[in-house]
């Protein structure tokens, strides 16, 4: 099925690239959505079967694949809305949809691959397709964003490759099939500690470009800012999860080896610095989209802290990354409507949003509460568990620092959101304001509803998937 999915999806993407017919385009997009749904259901039903030697639908892959499937449907819907308002030329629209489908396909393949080199290839493909999306507006600034993204991702993908080379040095005796994650996990105790350390450092640094952690987070911020908002939603949710998958799978190998403690400390340092950087920028950022992007950095840091603290934190980290994807994508979808009203992303030009779009304002207010982990958000549960695991594993000072930084983040996030919602904007002309159809916010309500549902009363299947994912981490 993976083979059929990959070939069909890349075929659809290729056809869209050369197709200029509107009706055919819609049919192809719908065909892809159906294919994606079918593929997700198939993989869920055939969990842990190996396909094409290099793909295994393990529980983490399936969990994130379902997340991707849920987010991709509103992403396509909002893309139609976005492109409809811009009257773009057919060629740019064709490239946009082809790139988006290629992005979703390579992300799905990266989730499911069981071999680190295959993951690496598909991560490289995500860079290629994401850069086409970022360049969609074709002006100086989007060019700048694209260039930075491509360059930083090219360097980080090289770092991951060096990590893979070191990983193969660490094996007692190398052979071609030996770099699959399951094999590495089996041999974790025999791996050479020196090479494994180097490998982990390089792989971790490389994947931080996708996940959005210090040191490689910078390119992602510009990319999420310059990409059209539906594409930004994908970049800051499902594409982040690709980075997480890469780090998580190599982290599982290291926690079962002799360098467990050391790897946790590396992760804690990166996570703390990320939360700190996010705090500093959140207090001064004036661009709404960039603010959301920095909030993603903060959440990536929290997720990594949960992973490093261990215990209940492992469970919470997986829960957190799924819920964060839903919240952050709905924030980005909603941002598209804000831009249509104010024609600006700056917080200075926006204001009094309740007056112009009541439904959208409610989404914004709810999503703000959810993103800052206030109850009834599911993030409250996961963040609480992460804090508990930090406390239990004697990282008390780290917990205090993180809580202090999070308070500042909530304050600055709230300041900007309340300015957007209630304070009237200076020099804003009301005449030409477009009416926004309330129906466009429906998908955001569904996503936010899912966050409450999965956080407070998680279905048994969901809990089982998460527990299966973390079963290889020693307690």
């Amino acid at each position: 099925m993976t083979g059929i999915y990959l070939s069909c999806a890349f075929l659809i993407s290729g056809l869209l690239l050369f197709n200029r017919n509107r009706a055919l385009k819609n049919m192809l997009v719908i065909a892809f959505v159906l294919l994606q749904i079918g593929f997700t259901i198939y993989e869920y039903l055939h969990i842990n079967t190996i396909e094409l030697t290099y793909f295994t639908a393990d529980s983490l892959g399936v969990l994130l694949l379902i997340t991707l499937c849920i987010i991709s449907i509103p992403a396509f819907y909002h893309s139609y809305v976005y492109l409809g308002t811009k009257q773009d030329n057919p060629k740019h629209t064709a490239i946009y949809f082809a790139a988006m489908i290629a992005l979703l396909t390579s992300i799905s393949a990266a989730y499911l691959s069981n071999h680190i080199a295959v993951t690496w290839i598909f991560v490289e493909l995500t860079t290629l397709s994401a850069s086409a999306l970022i360049y969609h507006r074709r002006n100086n600034r989007s060019l700048e964003g694209t260039w930075k993204y491509v360059f930083v991702c090219a360097i980080s993908i090289t770092l991951v490759f060096i990590g893979i080379l070191f990983l193969s040095f660490s094996l007692p005796k190398a052979g071609t099939d030996d770099l699959s994650f399951s094999n590495l996990l089996n041999k974790a105790r025999e791996l050479n500690a020196f090479w494994l350390r180097l490998a982990f450092i390089f792989i971790f640094t490389g994947f931080t470009a996708k996940l959005g952690l210090v040191p490689m987070y910078t390119a992602g911020i510009d990319a999420k800012d310059k990409a059209p908002s539906p594409a930004g939603a994908l970049l800051s949710s499902v594409l982040m999860n690709v980075g997480f998958v890469g780090i998580f799978r190599s982290y599982i190998v290291t926690v079962n080896s002799s360098i467990h403690q050391w790897a946790s400390h590396v992760i804690i340092i990166a996570a703390l610095l990320s939360i700190f950087v996010a705090t500093v920028y959140m207090t001064k950022v004036k661009n709404i989209k960039r603010m959301f992007a920095y909030s993603s950095i903060e959440h990536a840091g929290i997720i990594m802290l949960g992973l490093a603290a261990g215990g209940v934190g492992n469970y919470a980290a997986i829960l957190h990354i799924v819920l964060h994807s839903f919240i952050k994508s709905s924030l980005f979808f909603q941002q598209g409507q804000i831009y249509r009203i104010y024609q600006s992303k700056s917080i200075y030009d926006a204001g009094n949003y309740f007056k112009y779009n009541v439904t959208g304002s409610i989404v914004m207010l709810l999503a703000f509460f959810f993103a800052t982990a206030m109850p009834p958000s599911g993030l409250f549960i996961s963040e609480f568990m992460i804090f508990r695991s930090l406390f239990e594993s004697n990282y008390l000072w780290i917990l205090i620092v993180v809580m202090f930084l999070l308070t500042i983040i909530i304050w600055s996030f709230g300041k900007n959101i309340f300015k957007l919602l209630f304070t009237p904007a200076v020099d804003f002309k009301e005449e030409g304001v477009k009416k926004i159809n309330p129906f466009e916010s429906l998908s955001q309500f569904i996503l936010l509803g899912l966050v409450v549902y999965l956080g407070l009363i998680p279905p048994q299947q969901f809990v089982t998937l998460i527990q299966e994912t973390i079963k290889n981490i020693p307690h």
């Binding site: 080199a117 100086n140 060019l143 930075k148 360097i155 090289t158 490759f161 071609t176």
Partner: protein
């Protein structure tokens, strides 16, 4: 023989740190491509013929001829001024690159594994850091690409060290090499040059907070 080639390769890094004109950088890149051809030929002679041909073709044709020619064309097309415009004096650069090489020597002392010879590790890692150093200390976008290509050469040396056991990884590295350099150069030559005149990273500083 490989050791001699690897040492010449390291010396080329020192020359890279004091080079002034862009054309010198491009010539060094081409020269490094020839050196890599020699290293790969001696080291990988035992792997199967098709694979070997592919590797050798990539080093001699792509690294030593196509990429330098294409960069030369890009420079002419975009009328890039010929100076590399480093932020730091060449003397300092020379010292820093020397320090990088010494540091990797020290680090390599902690290797207890006999499977990989230390000289590969030293040369590859110092090439990697030298490439990163060139990226951060030169102001033109094209010098960023040159720095990236230097990093790629380092990665290639590292993958050759393991080439006899895992030829797949060498091929993957080549894939990365071709893909990334075409991609970077393509974006650079087709887009940035058309939109911005006299390409300098200073013009790419609008996105910030």
């Amino acid at each position: 023989m490989t050791n001699v080639l690897l040492i010449i390769f390291t010396i080329s890094l020192l020359y890279l740190s004091i080079a002034h004109r862009l054309i010198t950088y491009i010539k060094i890149l081409a020269f490094q491509g020839v050196l890599l051809f020699g290293i790969a030929f001696i080291e990988l002679i035992e792997i199967n013929a098709i694979n070997l041909t592919f590797v050798l073709f990539e080093t001699i044709a792509v690294k030593a001829i196509v990429i330098p020619l294409f960069m030369n064309y890009t420079m002419k097309r975009n009328r890039i001024t010929r100076d590399a415009e480093p932020f730091v004096p060449n003397f300092v650069s020379l010292i820093i690159i020397t320090l990088i090489i010494i540091a990797t020597f020290v680090l390599s002392n902690s290797i207890t594994d006999t499977r990989i010879s230390k000289i590969y590790f030293v040369v590859a890692l110092s090439t990697l850091f030298a490439g990163l150093y060139i990226i951060v200390t030169r102001s033109k976008i094209i010098t960023h690409i040159i720095g990236y290509l230097v990093i790629e050469n380092g990665v290639f040396i590292l993958s050759v060290a393991l080439g006899n056991e895992m030829p797949v990884l060498v091929n993957l590295g080549i894939l990365l090499d071709i893909f990334a350099s075409i991609f970077l150069l393509g974006v650079f030559a087709n887009r940035i040059g058309d939109v911005l005149k006299d390409v300098d990273v200073d013009q790419l500083k609008n996105l910030k907070d």
